[in-house]
Every structure is written in C-alpha cells, then in structure tokens.
C-alpha cells in the first residue's frame, strides 16, 4: 500500500520569479489554447460571411456596431499574432539552436513582446 505523502511542497507560483524567457514561453502556450478555443467562433463567422451577400453585409454591419464582437476579434488577433511570433522563436530554436543562450533568449523574448505590442496598436486603429 502506498502511503499518502502529507508533506508540504513549496509551490506558490506568486512567490517564484519567472524570467522573461519563461514568461514568453508560458504565454505562448496560453495564447495557443485561447486561439484554439476561439477557432469554432472564427470558422462560424467565416461561414456566415460566405453564405450570401445579405449575410455578409449583415455581419459587417454587426462588426461596426457590436463592441463585444470588436473586442473579441481584437483579442483573437492579438493572441494569434503573439502565438505566431513565439512559434517562430520556437522553430528558430528547434531548427538552428537560436535563442538557447540566456542572452539571445532574452533578446528574442523582448522582440516578440515588442512586435506584438506594435501589432496590438495597429489592430486597435483598424478595428475600433
């Protein structure tokens, strides 16, 4: 019989520092999950837009008026952009070993955050 281990474990994530590389890696996973979960909505909106001319116009009107739809689209676009860029970092590391030192990893992580920030501002001007 296995005895239950009642000993405490120090795993309070709020007390453990997360360096920038770790943060970018974990956000990559979170954004990936979010994009995956939003996929049915995106496909559904796409199919509605293709159904007929009337439904396309109705949907584009909805985009002009519905703040909820605008904010959702915005978040999906930002999440997708981040996930895409962080994915390139992962590919660079897998294929060429780029970004596997502390310094290069940090620089790449900051570049991803910076580029996502710029794209987020761009989407802001386009959608709202």
């Amino acid at each position: 019989m296995i005895e239950k281990d009642n000993r405490p474990v120090n795993l309070n994530l709020l007390t453990i520092s997360l360096p920038i590389i770790g943060l970018s890696s974990i956000l990559h996973r979170i954004s990936g999950l979010a994009v995956f979960l939003s996929f049915p909505l995106v496909v559904w909106l796409f199919s509605v837009s293709l159904k007929s001319e009337e439904s396309f116009i109705a949907l584009s009107n909805l985009f002009q008026t519905s703040f909820l739809l605008q904010i959702m689209t915005y978040l999906i676009l930002v999440g997708f952009s981040y996930h895409l860029l962080a994915g390139f970092k992962k590919l660079l590391s897998d294929a060429f070993g780029v970004g596997e030192t502390l310094e290069s990893g940090r620089i790449l992580s900051w570049l991803i955050f910076g580029a996502t920030f710029l794209m987020a501002i761009y989407f802001l001007t386009v959608i709202f």
Binding site: S17, I21, S25, E100, L102
Partner: protein, 247 residues
Amino acid sequence: MSAAIPVEQIKTITMSIYRYDPTVDKKPYMQDIVVEIPTDKDIMVLDALHLAKNQEPSLSYRRSCREGVCGSDGMNINGKNGLACVTPLSEVLKRDKITLRPMPGLPVVRDLIVDMKQFFDQLEKVKPYLITKSDTPDIERKQTPEAREELDGLYECILCGCCSTSCPSFWWNPDKFLGPAALLQSWRFIADSRDEATEERLDDLEDAFSLYRCHGIMNCVSVCPKGLNPTEAISNIRNKLLTREKA
C-alpha cells in the same frame, strides 16, 4: 553576532524564512528573523543563515562545503533558486530584507530541506556513468583533446537541483519528465566519445515525457549556479534523436 564587530559596522536585516517542523506544525509558515550583519564586508546568504540559526537553533538547512562545490544548500532566494553559499547577500537584499524558501516542487522534510528522492530517481534513469562494450584496454580509454572538450559545460554539474526544481515541466511531472539536471547528464554521456551505449540511451528517451516535455522555458539556465545550459543539452539530444538512422 559575536561581540568582536564594532557597533558602527553592523546593520540589521530581516530574514523571512519558510519554517516547517513535521512534528509540531500542521502547515508551513514564514518566520521573520532579524539578524545583525557586518557592513564593512559582503557575506554570503549562507553566512546570514548561520547568524539566523544562532538565534533560532531549530532552523534547519543543508550545507557542507560552503563554496559551491557540494551542491547541498540549493534554496529559493527571493523567488529564484540558487546556492546560498555562493550568493552574495548584497546582491539579493531588498530594502534590508531577504526571503528564503525551500526549492519548489519537492516535498519539504523540514524548513529549507527538501526530499531530493524524485530528483535522484530521475538521474538514475539516465545511467550517469560510462557504459562500454568493447574489451577493456590495458591502460586507459583514450580521448582526444577535442573529444574531451565536448564535455565542457556538462561535467561541471554538481547536482544541486536548482534547475530541475525551477522547471514547471518538472513540477507537474516529476516522475515522468527527467528534468534539466538529469537530461544534462544524459547528454554528458551521449556526447562522450568513450561511451558505447548511445543508441540505448537515445531509445530510453524516446517517449512523450522523458525529454519532450521540455518547452524551452529556460528557467534552468536562468538559475544554474554553475552557469551551465541544460536547454542546449536537451536541444542537442533532440537533434540527435531526429537525425539518427535507426537500425
């Protein structure tokens, strides 16, 4: 503090330390211990711990060589894993305060002491020793200086556990994911020109968890007190697995 230090060369700091005694405490708690430290020289976190222990004799932590060789005093210093004996207090003091917790993810035996069994179980799995099949030579197994250089950045690991216990993949799967320390050792022997069990070693790593649970978070590289790079070692193993020609 000993009376030998003149009063003007002393300042007080607060050490917030994780306390847990299984015979008394139901739950761990943080205790603030105020200690006096000299200001005319820098001391290590371990020295400050000794001062705290003078006040609280029940305070428990591991230490041995006190110079970053034995790897006993790995702990979480202000949220970041490191060796107390080679971490200067001046680098981690924030407003005269320092917070010490045991290394994350492993069961706490008492105060800052964790049970390293899971860590060493994973190390054992990678067979961290030279495996040879050919006849034993009369004198020694020779290695060129170039082949020996391949082991630089790998053999220096002191198995303190700072890397593996800062790795989220190891926290969630300490029994299945080998962790950065064990994988660094795995690559150390795969990369060794004298080792003759490369294929078997690679076979053992080819499952969803042992190696591939590494997601490149790189906390291991951030915390390694010896400046080693387990992420690179893991990447090297991955490349070796992908490019090998299977018999």
